[in-house]
Symmetry: C2
């Protein structure tokens, strides 16, 4: 699978830039700015890891205040995490410098970081980059920003969606980073979506929560969760639409479009897993509750035994039913049906007999694999997206040196 | 690490045998019998997987009845799981045939199976093996039984402990199988300990629960849990000791010895993980509760990123603190101290500076690695035992064909 990406995109009333300030030794871009020309509503979700970077602590706090936001500043190459009190000092220094340069309040700035942890930032490197960052900021800068937040990513990740509310044209455009399986220290995932829609904070946060659950919260690469994971949406209201209200059809449409953009970004992260040779969808239907469906999908999608079997192109239903069984959800094995790219592997408490293993294996050789699990116990469903588990995963993660 | 094993051992009043009945195509031993010459008390723990083999359902039921037990019959080469109603029929056929041959009641027999799942047993193969199994049963047969329960295990696993209660000499002897990371379908773990101690069912079950928690429940190889996991202890009382009562010092001693035997067997399973190059102990201290300590130890011991770093001999404290953070336990990062084979890696919210990375790396090159994590929040502790995650894990599990 290769998720299509826009060549370039603009979101009305937003500018962006990405520059090399010198954090990355190879001279690659490492500092990004997203700027709204007018104050925007911000919503966000952040890592649940108990060990959190200062930027996460700070941005979470600012988002909760529901104050207008003008800018997000992001550095890559150093996560500014696990280095004690210095982390917060460096965050505040960068914010202060940027507030000064943009002539806005420091409360209007959100911050995120990604990269190696436990290494103090070199003094002044980030702040010294601020003038150029602001100077180069333009409506066409989203791709530069997308590049500047990359760490071990092989591709920059962008997505865009457009729809109308009455006569008002709404644009949602996002950038993300994360390459899951390969990240040397951990798979930090960052996502930033900008929109010109008019929507208030609680409504935007609700839409973001829904979109996040179906996208970033539905992908797994190696089950590890970073200290820096951040997903923020800015809405500057410049489309001039009637404010989007919860429960309305406009809300449903906005959430669907935000989900589409978020899913596209999340899929690009899975596809960028180095060593990954397959895009895998685990689809659980017939569950009693949504939570049951997600737990089972997650258990199957994170099983090392299932993921190595996928790499080996082996239709190993046994590992799948085993992972279903230990998901901590009451299931009735005799009702479970397991299908792999349409072929039934297990049904009526028995593996399905196949006339030809050759055609079955051929189905596994496709770059996209859908594992469909019907529990036949209820009406709820959930999906998880992952990749297979290859030699390269071990190689890359074992050979990396702190 | 190489856990020492007894060359051979006998437990007073117990016999055993292991034969090749024809299930394994290579002619290796595949049917085992453990026999007590007098009725024994049985206690057991079984897989929590919702998908369970018929043998697990049956043995769990029999153990709960607290009836006297004479024999355990175990086959390898076929797990007799996920094949519908036929599984239970085949279990009962084997038990009935054995009951007839031994002239005992079928309620006095426990059963366990391990091997490939979803494949029906060939008719009569197991039952036809029963006469020879009974005929060869002897006090010296424990090693044969240990061999006959192996699947992908490279070594047979045995352990013995002896102590006295007053003038009565107590022996505990056990066998186990399980090779964790390499098992093609799943890592079924079986353990059987025999003792001549006199102890009643609730007391034996309590001692077993404690021993199991510190041994088989404290090892992890790839986090997958099998449909067939079983751990049974038989106590035939032939030592003639005063019955062991809960809370007594004899109970404490018996439980300590049972734990020692169980831990030895569990360690042998970790060591037999093919592709495993290191034996890893994750030791968490200073936790508020035992459950917190175990959750964190388990999170670190199952992290693919930590395990690949161990294979790469990289002192990657970042992956460790990250896995601590997502264990779902409230921690205070600034109090956490992480040590690796005695060298402090992280303290005071900062990575420790080391004069020489060379000496640090040398510590990692040992075949045994101890990751010690002090949370400095309380007085509870827990340990988990695991191995590293190598190329061979992926190779073996990807190349296996259903």
């Amino acid at each position: 699978m290769k998720t299509p990406t826009p060549k370039n995109f603009q979101v009305p009333g937003f500018k962006a830039s990405g520059i090399a300030c010198g954090l990355k030794k190879n001279g690659a871009k490492d500092l990004a700015l997203i700027l709204s020309t007018t104050p925007a509503v911000a919503a966000g979700v952040f890592t649940k890891n108990r060990v959190q970077a200062a930027s996460v602590v700070l941005s979470r706090r600012t988002v909760k205040k529901a104050v207008p936001i003008r800018a997000i500043v992001v550095n890559s190459g150093n996560a500014n995490a696990c280095i004690g009190a210095q982390g917060m000092i460096d965050c505040k220094n960068l914010i202060n410098r940027l507030a000064q340069e943009l002539a806005i309040s420091k409360d209007e700035i959100l911050i995120a970081s990604t990269g190696v942890i436990g290494v103090p930032l070199p003094p002044d490197t980030l702040t010294d980059g601020v003038p150029k960052l602001v100077e180069t900021c333009s409506a066409k800068g989203m791709n530069d920003a997308a590049e500047a937040i990359m760490t071990t990513d092989l591709t920059r990740k962008t997505a865009v969606a457009r729809f109308s509310i009455g006569k008002n044209k709404i644009v949602l455009g996002g950038i993300a980073k994360g390459s899951g399986m390969i990240h040397p220290n951990m798979a930090t995932m960052l996502g930033f979506v900008q929109t010109n829609a008019r929507i208030d904070y609680p409504t935007l946060q609700a839409a973001l929560n829904e979109a996040n659950e179906a996208s970033f919260n539905s992908i797994t690469v190696d089950g590890d969760m970073s200290t820096n994971d951040t997903f923020i949406v800015l809405a500057n209201g410049q489309a001039g639409n009637k404010p989007i209200k919860r429960g309305s059809k406009e809300y449903a449409e906005f959430t669907a479009q935000l989900t589409k953009v978020s899913k596209s970004l999340a899929f690009q992260i899975v596809e960028d897993g180095e060593g990954a040779t397959k895009f895998v969808t685990v689809k659980v239907t017939g569950a009693k509750t949504k939570n049951h469906a997600k737990k089972i999908a997650s258990s199957v999608a994170t099983s090392s035994l299932v993921k190595t079997a996928l790499f080996g192109e082996d239709p190993n239903w046994g590992r799948i039913i085993c992972a279903i069984g230990y998901a901590g959800v009451p299931v009735q094995p005799e009702r479970i049906v397991i299908r792999l790219n349409g072929a039934t592997l297990f049904e009526n408490d028995n593996p399905t007999k196949h006339a030809s293993m050759v055609s079955l294996r051929r189905k596994m050789q496709k770059p996209e694999v859908i594992i469909a699990i019907d529990l036949n116990q209820g009406k709820e469903s959930a999906e998880m997206y992952t990749c297979d588990f290859s030699y390269d995963y071990v190689k890359i993660n074992a050979e990396y040196t702190t």
